[in-house]
Amino acid sequence: MKKFLYKTGLSTVLSALVLMAGTSSAVRAEDTIKVGILHSLSGTMAISETTLKDTMLMLIAEQNKKGGLLGKKLEPVVVDPASNWPLFAEKARELITKEKVASIFGCWTSVSRKSVLPVIEELNGILFYPVQYEGEESSKNVFYTGAAPNQQAIPAINYLMNDIKVERWVLAGTDYVYPRTTNKILEAYLKSKGVDAKDIMINYTPFGHSDWQSIVADIKKFGSAGKKTAVVSTINGDANIPFYKELGNQGISAEDIPVIAFSVGEEELSGMDTKPLVGHMAAWNYFMSEDTTKNAAFIKQWHAFTKDTKRVTNDPMEAHYIGFNMWIKAVEKAGTTDSDAVQKAMIGIKFPNLTGGMAQMLPNHHLSKPVLIGEIQEDGQFFTVWQTNTLVKGDAWSDYLAESKPIIADWTAPISCGNYNTTTKKCSGQNY
């Protein structure tokens, strides 16, 4: 009953919004290139996704100042899928068929991406997905500008294992596809490195879990066995704050049992009391605290755009920044916004990262990225304690899972497949 009400209530509000967006855009439809922005502006995910919408608006405005694209102005089309997964698919369809956008920048959670996937493939659109994710996917129509597991999770484990000498592992996550797949990969990886099954503890909690007492008590017991223990956290969103608070209250400091998180960035930290978090870690491909001229300029631009000098930047924002600029380059290279031509032109495009180095779009539609590990400081920023010497190439299909080991993704001829089995020499199509 509640769900039904939720939907009807929201869709009335939304359709009104869409109507407004539609009428305003109809006026000058001909001489612009439309860019779809598919990020939740209401509901649970609004907390993370609203920022990305603003980032896109900033990037588009900036590009228009430089004279637009192919002599035309860019026009953002913002829709609100309201943290409602099926609505993501509907909105994506609407953006492509009704608004005729040239490309879509959007989604955050893996389930929203999975929901958009069939639509975008059917209508041959282009989606730029800016968030770190679990991998095991490569679609012809999606460009993954966030990190694959080998660009975030695996280097983080290596750091803990080699530099911190961790021997016991707690894999804690929220109960949905990203943590489950990531933990499956990590468990296989740890076992391949000789970690005993009884030194690995896996724990899942519901979305928005707020009572962490027993789980933290368990972690404490698990961590007191005389071996160095660390928590690898794929806990998502809101559940993190009570988790870290409980850790602090039960007297577990980052020096005793460090927590390394894959979903906690500057944006999430800005809503937290950071006192109990100091010293805990996160692995990303970008930190706001990285001291480069490009990054300083980006932060300045962001502050000017939002008119708020306290706003932070984060990793998915950089992903959109790189993705958007790559798309611009690809359209200029192809000379058209036609989907097939742009998809072809995208592969091999290079664009500098904000933190240094050159990101490159690989044939598997993933990026090459640097990996950074930072410790949380009291001001909510990260202090980089480790980083890779070179850029790491995103790997769509994990080499540590038996079933995906022989599979590669390569969207260039002659393979042209997102799911190609190198042993059987067969492309299994869209079978993921």
Binding site: I164, N249, G271
Partner: protein, 549 residues
Amino acid sequence: MKYRVTYPVKFVVLVLMLFSFIGTSIAQEEATELTFSATVSRLKVRALTAKGKAIEQLAKFQNSRKILILQALVDGDLFEVRDSGQIVIAESKEDKYSIVLADNGNGIGLVESSAIKKIKLNNRLRSKIRSLVATLQLNSAAAEVRLQAVKTLGKSINQQSLFTLKKRAEIEKDDDVLDALGLVIALDNLNSTDRLIRLKGIETLKQKTSLKAVNRLQAIIDKNNEGQFIEPDAEIRKQANSALVKIQARLQVYAVAETVFFGLSLGAVLVLAAIGLAITFGVMGVINMAHGEMMMLGAYTTYVMQLLLPHHIGLSLILSIPAAFMVSGIVGIGIERGIIRHLYGRPLETLLATFGVSLVLQQAVRSIFSPLNRSVITPDWMSGSWQINDFLSLTWNRLYILVFCLLVFAFLLQILRRTRLGLEVRAVSQNRNMAKAMGIPTDRVDAMTFGLGSGIAGVAGVALSQITNVGPNLGQAYIVDSFMVVVFGGVGNLWGTLVAGFSLGIANKVLEPYAGAVLAKILVLVFIILFIQKRPRGLFPQKGRAAES
């Protein structure tokens, strides 16, 4: 004769060379042996290994300020002045910082926060400093400081710290400190090659209530992967086993106590969330879907109070309680007067309308405060835990919330029993027409009751702000749980809500270790569904003719 050098000349040259050699070696000595101030100022280097060296050197000085500096560094109070590069200890004063020079304690005065830069550490340096400080504090005059130092050193023991601790054990007088030292030494005894020392170690561990002891003993009696005992000595295994059984008997008691505490504290949160609803839904019969948003408003009130009083976090939290009651109460009265009173007796429309209100309130908060979570700082007296022993520690925030929940419950009960408003509320809820006939202004009573329920929800929001996120979705996370508790406890019965909240909390926590957090929640829900099938009116159904109709 050109190169003939006489002996005296040769001698002079030799002596000169010797002097110059000594001279340079003195100069070199000075280069490596920095002064105390110079060592302090080397703490600002960015490279972590160099910083680690500077810290080690600092600890070697015989200077009374070194502990102070190291402690400030690990607490994040050590800063570098941006202009002059001086190292200072800073203390936050209103919006500015009061700074004193680290090496000699001379005050400089107040500066803006932008004028100084924090000296950063990573975990490794932090734990290094902590053990350095602990070693230095081992000879402190205060017993608690020594106890803390022993505990810190015991976390990661090495040959050197073990030696220091053994030395201390010989001269230590305080019982608690001796106890802690005994544990560390007994754990080390187990690594000895001497069988008697090992047995003595086990004997000592038997008396200790310590997780480390349990794990160490467990390791002795464990088998390896081939099914063979790791420990070859049968006698030691037997002793270790009997020691373990003894400790575990105590551990069992603490484990039960811990589960009960976890359950009660979860229950307290449920009761707090549900108790306002027990009034609006239970007593008035209004299905208020915006109840969660009343809690959210309370939590945001706490945030605003904290912004108003940024330097008195504790006080702002206490003042938030009446403030949140007022804010949520007034909004509640507004909703009742504006919407709900037109819909009495039409539950479906009320449900829809209040759900709409909840969406409006959420979006309003998003527009005013941004969709991001707001950070509400926990005061120091609510952080940390009451460490009874290694197995049982009660976290302060949960303990306070438990007490707070009982206070709110008692307060509400007194209002309903002892005040005129309470009397009128009970009269109206039992028989509206009869109450009206007796001259009770039912309209006003309805508004006041709804305001009371909403206000209590606001107060619950203050408590929630201390344990969970303050964001637009706060209310949604608790609305289902609230209805669950009220329905399970019996609609219209405050005691029912209390008992239901606590029993659901404990049931959840008993199930969690076996079933996991996800399944535990599902099991509890299934249980409630079955229970409601059997007893549709909940645990404590209302009796009497009015309730039957």
